[in-house]
């Protein structure tokens, strides 16, 4: 047992902790009007943490700490990069939003940084305790952030619903973990993988695995565990909604895939059908519910539920068919990365557009292109990208997904592929509905908000980063394949 700590390997985490304390200190000492410095500290912290990440990526070594409980390999680095970049974009989107509505700035950034720290820990977690701490650190602060508009009853409701279902899922997850520990006596993923592969299938093992899937299902808001998502998304402040639908969902996905892929590959006959059902249900019910939404944030909420279904497809298909999980794993990670960028952009443009429309109803967005053509162009870019129309990045995510299903082969996977294809068409309808409203419909009223002034610089930067990545990855998908290569390393490194 060695307790040597490689400080470069955990430098991103340390930097986030440092900026967390800096925000706390600034919030305590600065006068009220200068609190915006806390935002600067948070933005700078999330950007600085990318630097040691780059060093680690160039070195390319797999560093294993604490008896293999905490591993920094290329896969972890890619995910940490994803979490930090998306956190950076969310911070940029928050700056103006939080300042203009007179929220408590210091605490906001403090909690959001804590959540980012959790996602970084999660990417490196290779045993159940670290994984559990990571998940809780991601979601705990978000319960509070969802209710950030303290006086607004909708925000209160969002927070409470998220909290109750969140802790319920945690308890279920933990119960599954405890049974898994009892059956195997192991908590490290590698130990679990060996022990479960050698074990005969018992009802207790099946129950433990299903409990884990239910727990993770809540975190990634897969149908039928999605009830909290639309309400929480609608009630929470919009930057937090963006964070929920991207970072915290990605964190849930990473946790789930790590456990299934590294710890429980031996019992894939238990979890494969469950994931198959989750994928098919999430896509279908998510999309059908999205069809009748009139609020743009709720529409994005259901769209993100449906997208979670698409993300599950490669993994579920490969596991059902008994094919190589490695290919599927990298396909899911690619989908996750591309989804993160375009979904953040979509929420960014919702924030930007809402300055003009002062409304979340899609019908109130009619005719936006007449007054704010740049926002209207961005609406088209991000929503068409979410629908998967080339040359925007979304097409590559869908392409990779379908390709991995085809590689897997088998009857059950073909059924899943057909479900996915039908759903891709349904999704186009409601994404295009928003674009049509913005571009083709005539304005039904005067826009109440301002549209002469461009949005704040930080929001423009956030949108520029997302739109840049969306378009560039769409034209040069090879850029995204390095993500796939990195996620293959995990198989060897374990």
């Amino acid at each position: 047992m060695s307790w040597e700590v490689d400080y470069l390997a955990i430098a991103p985490e340390l930097i986030i902790i440092g900026s967390l304390f800096l925000v706390l200190g600034l919030d305590l000492t600065l006068p009220r009007l200068k609190k915006y410095w806390t935002a600067t500290a948070a933005v700078a912290g999330s950007a600085l943490a990318l630097i040691p990440l780059a060093f680690l990526a160039v070195e390319g070594e797999t560093i294993s700490m604490f008896d293999g409980s905490y591993v920094v390999d290329e896969f972890a680095l890619v995910l940490k990069g994803l979490f930090l970049v998306t956190a950076y974009i969310v911070f940029l989107m928050s700056v103006n939003y939080i300042e203009s509505e007179r929220y408590y700035q210091g605490e906001y950034y403090l909690l959001l940084l804590a959540s980012v720290l959790g996602s970084l820990v999660l990417a490196s977690a290779r045993d159940l305790i670290v994984l559990f701490i990571g998940i809780e650190l991601v979601t705990g602060p978000l319960y509070l952030l969802a209710g950030w508009r303290k006086g607004d009853v909708k925000s209160n409701e969002a927070s409470l619903k998220y909290f109750i279902l969140g802790v319920l899922s945690t308890a279920i997850l933990l119960y599954g973990m405890s049974v898994l520990y009892g059956l195997t006596g192991e908590i490290t993923f590698s130990g679990l993988a060996e022990a479960t592969a050698a074990m005969p299938n018992s009802p207790a093992l099946t129950m433990a695995v299903l409990f884990l899937i239910v727990g993770f299902g809540f975190k990634i808001s897969a149908v039928p565990f999605h009830f909290w998502a639309p309400d929480t998304y609608e009630g929470a402040p919009t930057p937090i909604t963006a964070y929920l639908s991207v970072n915290s969902k990605a964190a849930g996905f990473v946790a789930m895939l790590l456990v299934m892929y590294l710890a429980l590959p031996g019992v894939s006959d238990v979890w494969a059908p469950a994931l198959w059902a989750l994928a098919a249900l999430s896509m279908t019910i998510g999309n059908l519910s999205a069809l009748r939404q009139t609020n743009i944030v709720r529409l994005l909420a259901y769209s993100s539920i449906a997208q979670a279904g698409f993300m599950l497809v490669p993994f579920a298909a490969a596991a059902v068919a008994g094919a190589d999980l490695e290919e599927a794993f990298s396909a899911t990670v690619i989908y996750l990365v591309i989804y993160a960028v375009m979904n953040l952009g979509a929420f960014g443009v919702v924030i930007a557009g809402a300055r003009t429309t002062k409304s979340g109803e899609i019908s109130d967005w009619a005719g936006l292109s007449n007054v704010d053509s740049r926002a209207a162009v961005l609406v088209a870019v991000f929503f068409f990208s979410l629908a998967g129309i080339p040359p925007l990045a979304g097409w590559f995510a869908k392409f990779v997904m379908f390709r991995s299903v085809m590689i897997a082969g088998g009857a059950a996977t073909v059924v899943l592929a057909v479900v996915a294809a039908v759903n891709a068409v349904i999704a186009l309808y409601y994404y295009a509905k928003v674009v049509k409203s913005v571009w083709l419909d005539d304005a039904t009223r005067e826009f109440p908000g301002e549209f002469d002034e461009p949005p704040a610089g930080s929001l423009r930067l956030a949108l520029a980063i997302s739109v840049g990545l969306t378009v560039v990855v769409g034209f040069f998908p090879a850029l995204a394949t390095f993500v796939a290569d990195a996620s293959r390393v995990i198989a060897a490194g374990g």
Binding site: G140, P230, D231
Partner: protein, 101 residues
């Protein structure tokens, strides 16, 4: 070594917790139900630990982490309940129906 008895106790507590969470309308009681579920997990972990006797006492360490996180979670939960109670003068989940899917 007794193991089954503790596991049955754990499972029963967990089931009571789930039942309470679904049936209770008061948020504070829902929080208590969640605590029951988390303590069921602790009983499981400790029972397995004393049965398996691992070198690093993994089960006990896990239980300590669960206790810590549970305390933090209840702190968050009570903060949310207070916030809602200030706005609505009620901590009943049936009143929270502004948004419906």
């Amino acid at each position: 070594m007794l193991l089954n008895q503790f596991l049955v106790l754990g499972a029963a507590l967990f089931a009571f917790g789930v039942y309470g969470l679904l049936v209770r309308r008061n948020v504070v009681l829902i929080l208590l139900s969640v605590e029951l579920m988390l303590n069921a997990v602790n009983i499981n972990l400790i029972a397995f630990e004393s049965y398996l006797v691992s070198a690093q006492a993994v089960g006990q360490v896990f239980a300590i982490f669960v206790i810590t996180v549970a305390a933090a979670e209840v702190g968050i939960g009570l903060a949310i309940v207070l916030m809602i109670f200030r706005n609505r003068k009620s901590a009943n989940v049936d009143d929270l129906s502004l948004m419906r899917w």
